[in-house]
Symmetry: C2
Amino acid sequence: MMTSMIENDSGWVVDIVLNPPSLQDNTADADRLKKALSRKIGVDYITVDPFVLKDLPIRLHSWDYRCRCVFFKSCGCGYLIEIMPIENPKPAAAMAVDLGTTRVVMEMIDLVTGKSLLQSVFDNPQREIGPDILERIHYADKPGGLDHLHHLIIDAINEEIGRICKKAGMDRNRIFLMAVAGNTSMTHLFAGISPRGIIREPYIPAANTFGAARAEDLGIHMNRSGRVFLFPNVGSYFGGDLIAGACFAGFQESKDISILVDVGTNAEVLLGNSEWLVACAGAAGPALEGGVSEIGMTAGPGVIDTVFIDPAIKEFQISTIDDQPPKGICGSGMIDLAAALFLSGMMDIRGRLVQDACGERFRNVDGIPHIVVVKEEVSATGRALTISQVDIDSLIRSKAAMYTILETLLQYVGIRFEDIKTFYVAGTFGSFIKPRSAISIGMIPDLPEETYRSLGNSSLKGAVRLLTERGTMDQVESIRDRITYLELNVNQDFMNRFSAAKFFPHTDAARFPSVSFRQQP
Amino acid sequence: MMTSMIENDSGWVVDIVLNPPSLQDNTADADRLKKALSRKIGVDYITVDPFVLKDLPIRLHSWDYRCRCVFFKSCGCGYLIEIMPIENPKPAAAMAVDLGTTRVVMEMIDLVTGKSLLQSVFDNPQREIGPDILERIHYADKPGGLDHLHHLIIDAINEEIGRICKKAGMDRNRIFLMAVAGNTSMTHLFAGISPRGIIREPYIPAANTFGAARAEDLGIHMNRSGRVFLFPNVGSYFGGDLIAGACFAGFQESKDISILVDVGTNAEVLLGNSEWLVACAGAAGPALEGGVSEIGMTAGPGVIDTVFIDPAIKEFQISTIDDQPPKGICGSGMIDLAAALFLSGMMDIRGRLVQDACGERFRNVDGIPHIVVVKEEVSATGRALTISQVDIDSLIRSKAAMYTILETLLQYVGIRFEDIKTFYVAGTFGSFIKPRSAISIGMIPDLPEETYRSLGNSSLKGAVRLLTERGTMDQVESIRDRITYLELNVNQDFMNRFSAAKFFPHTDAARFPSVSFRQQP
């Protein structure tokens, strides 16, 4: 039986030309196609969806045994999802989903060309139950709670599919694959599985691997034979979003050691290369998401994202997103601010505001030192934008936690920071953070700036990659299976390291030669 | 992780005791169970049905991580279908189905004990479309025809499940597996797939392998996560019923050469052992199903199943089923009759009725010789039961075809009849046939009588075996994959052999030493 390829062979669509059956070669139509496809994609068995099997022979015959196959493979099983003629085929699309706790980003892909067709964002409707995932996990335990949360997200995604299809002129029945990357809790809620174990000792999720479910089973309105792949998680605090990110970063492709850090309220870290992988996660506190200080907020127009202070004249130079009048500060702005305060001597190595150095920007409110970042007259709110010593202390704990987590992980593996060739920073936060500032406050190690690379929305990009490059699935499964998850024990050692990291940039300033140098003058 | 077995380990139910998760062993609940089960049953991946996954953690936890799993495996994939507590478990049942063209036999099995719970038979409702499968294949091509045939059989099976469950006091949601053995056409109609290719050159079915579909997808009303396994076929004329029969006979278990013959309008033959298998099928004509002669009928009360003629006094000794007054003759009765006529000299070696030897039982109707089998005065119908020369000629063609098919197959493989250790005769017909008579007319080879073994309803028994002995699935797949299907070419060689076999017992009487011996006196 001769099989020839016409289209490229990177994604989940292949064109197959079969020898028509004859008295000499009388394999059944479905088995003939299965055999050719399984050889092509390297799996032992292909399951033909019952709806496809039904009229497969008539269709194959009418197309002269030349057909385009849409397929998928997961956990060793191949699935034939749709067949169509090679000439004048209908389109075949897929949907990548970044299933965020706060926002959901979806990207429609053309499965044949691999090109992006449309991207859209919407707020996760589960926020009405609770902005925080913890509240949702508790809510899921109430009668009907889990179902409610499950339907909120599934319905919203179905509606969004409708909107995207309308805009792109696509029939939703032509969407054959969906790849969903979310944290462990969101993945559970999406699948309608209780996330309660995630927050209860011994803190284990219901499932780590979900495989490729039929769209119908999950209530997703796309092609009824379509498959929905949920990125697997490694544990309660290391989810599919990070596995997707690791795939996108290409941890499987090099022996050079890389590290991937996703910073938020939790810091998740993956360290390794094509041979080994170690992951851990730990609480970094809310400071890095701009969630503590009175003026803290997530990135948006008018939010301060860059702060520079001229050390000589102590003059603040700030910039805001979209150059709107300043109304608050985001996580990366806070890091910039802290770095600038420290480098200009307005904050000491213990992170305390130095009244003399702060001059007129120093205020004392109810006995708590404050620094005015934006004066009344230029603020969008008409009130001065200030940061208190409490806010700074919170940031210190976060940055110290981040550094301590990194240090602990490297110590566990037995490597030095200098061994890291690429330091990936994931997530929205990663897109805004300035490595130089984060190094200056001792949040991340003092590596050459070119070591740091922002991945942007790496979970969405990982999902897109899975939908466009077939080999990514093997990487996902390989990454998932090879990760050693290190449970961070908050023991005396950890606390000692944490205490040492609470200084600017660190009690052991020699670790940050580039920062020490600037600080001296 | 320790896994211990409590129940026996032969079927599709295993009891698994897991170590509960701990901070030291924090694999997710579903993955913990999947890992233990996959090790237990020897597959790489287990797919957990989405309806099972949903509340798996809560249930596992409430049962102290001790659970009974109902699972299945097919085509390299494992499926976890249901979990229940080990203590006070609900029942788990399965349904074996012999999907006959004429009758459907179902047997409910207890999946835990492997015991039969109930057996029932009903007429295939597709008979209203056509008693013959050929008529149904043509009907399936008409608009709505395939759907109609599909629903007729699915609805009838669903109703029968209801009746069986009611009788046995079983909840239909507790039926987790169904194994269906039918010929290739019936299997297609059951799956709702067009059988049209089966009767059109190059005579190939739509599919040879169907795997284990979700019951829901086939419209079968049992547990919604349940799986329906359709025995694979080898080709248009060698179906899953024969693969099931081969499994039941145990072709995989011995190096001794066996042969399995299913005789009907078509004769299907499987020859081989644990190392090789060759199959073929050919038209044997309707004579062996009692479908030609005026008094021919299928087995039932009052039907002649045994005929003996005292060669000395030419006295007929007949027996009927249930000892009812004779009203007709079935296929095995016809073989008995032909053997008796021949051995008593009332029929010559060319199969022609010898008027002198027949005496008063000879009649000439419209120039065609007849023999009176049952005289008017003892017949149930009040009329003499006669067999014509035409009926006998038809039987001769059938018996010659049967022998020629066997001869051709053995010649192809290069073995002699004497190399066959066991000669299995399958089907209802096989239950009634008397090897001695069939040998006497030269329909089957002259082997010691103990070589012949009747299998009864071997397709049902094969389906039952699959449901009760897990290893049978490997045998099914191995048998299916290893069979070489021999396309019988009705060429000059075949016709020569056929002509030689049209004599009683054969032109080469030396092939039937036991028959020749009796005939001489």
